[in-house]
């Protein structure tokens, strides 16, 4: 009789043990699920901001190729205006104005074609966050024209607008 009771107690203990193991598995699983979902939401938010900034840069009148104050081609950017914007964005009041537009990000343009040796990317805005968890880059192909080398048509390169947002 006593032996039977012991066996039944043992069975109960084993059942409880298995139940708690299953409970732990379930908790771990749902915690991981929540963490993944949260990461995805944060990633989507940063990506959205990157794209928003890229669209703002793409429509900046300071950068567009112009002739007689009229825009020539959409998606065409003036190389010398981009040089100027880098300096402009660092000066006093302008710094605040561009921070409102671009926040904590780095916006740069790098030429892809025609290839040139040792050409550094053209950084048009740089405001790095001191502590960040992730950098998500967004790329947009653009035409970068140099109207100084060829006034009539311009020497246009295949370039890429890279926006890095700090999350």
């Amino acid at each position: 009789m006593r032996n039977k009771a012991q066996i039944q107690m043992g069975e109960n203990v084993i059942i409880l043990f298995i139940f708690f193991i299953l409970l732990i598995f379930a908790v771990v699983f749902f915690t991981r699920l929540q963490a993944t979902k949260k990461e995805q939401v944060i990633g989507a938010d940063i990506e959205g901001r990157g794209l928003q900034i890229a669209q703002r840069v793409a429509l900046l009148p300071e950068l567009q190729c112009t002739k007689d104050n009229a825009i020539i081609t959409p998606g065409c950017y003036d190389e010398y205006s981009a040089f100027a914007l880098d300096e402009l964005a660092r000066e006093g009041e302008n710094k605040v104005y561009y921070f409102d537009l671009f926040g904590f990000s780095t916006v740069s343009i790098y030429k892809v074609f025609p290839p040139k040796e040792e050409e550094k990317p053209l950084v048009i805005y740089n405001n790095t966050k001191e502590e960040f968890r992730a950098i998500i880059p967004t790329y947009i192909p653009i035409t970068l024209c140099n109207f100084v080398s060829d006034v009539t048509k311009g020497q246009c390169s295949f370039a890429v607008l890279k926006v890095e947002v700090y999350g």
């Binding site: 699983f29 991981r32 699920l33 993944t36 995805q40 990633g43 989507a44 990506e47 959205g48 990157g50 794209l51 081609t73 998606g75 065409c76 892809v112 074609f113 025609p114 290839p115 967004t138 790329y139 947009i140 192909p141 653009i142 035409t143 060829d150 048509k153 311009g154 020497q155 246009c156 390169s157 295949f158 370039a159 890429v160």
Partner: protein, 166 residues
């Protein structure tokens, strides 16, 4: 009798374990799979158009000339060309576009983008002119975004088509 009941219970336990494992794998592949975000989808939709318009208005790097890739495509069907570009023009175009793709779409988004770029010539071009196709494998089942740019030429309209798959 007791042994048969024990065996049945063991069988049921095995079935439950297998079902649990199956459900775990299904959950792993459905719940943890990253879906493209709205921003990603927007970027992918714009990419084909941005890429091809940028390419066509860019300098083709022909020595001493500011000819663009559009000029290059226009001249391809002609037997004689005034462009100072290395000939044959179609091979030159292909190699330069491949160089650009290697530095852009091939490395962006950790191989997320596959593409298919084609230049289709109209009927009536000289027989040695063949359509150009540059691809890194576009799965037929994937979602696709296609942009077509027509370029007028002496022989008719040349179609430049960029297909981005994701």
């Amino acid at each position: 009798m007791a042994k048969i009941a024990q065996m049945e219970i063991m069988g049921l336990a095995v079935i439950i374990i297998l079902l649990a494992l199956g459900m775990f794998f299904v959950a792993q592949f459905t719940l943890f799979k990253e879906k493209p975000t709205a921003a990603q989808t927007f970027q992918q939709r714009q990419l084909a158009s941005n890429f091809i318009s940028t390419l066509l208005s860019s300098n083709a790097d022909c020595p001493g000339s500011s000819a663009t890739f559009t000029d290059l495509i226009e001249e391809m069907p002609n037997t004689f060309t005034n462009l100072p570009c290395p000939i044959p023009l179609d091979k030159y175009f292909e190699s330069k576009v491949k160089d650009i793709l290697i530095q852009t779409l091939d490395i962006w988004g950790e191989g997320r983008f596959t593409y298919n770029l084609t230049v289709v010539f109209p009927q009536g071009v000289p027989p040695d002119i063949e359509d150009i196709a540059i691809s890194n494998g576009c799965p037929p089942t994937s979602q696709q975004e296609t942009k077509i740019f027509p370029i007028p030429s002496d022989f008719g309209t040349i179609l430049v088509q960029m297909k981005i798959c994701y």
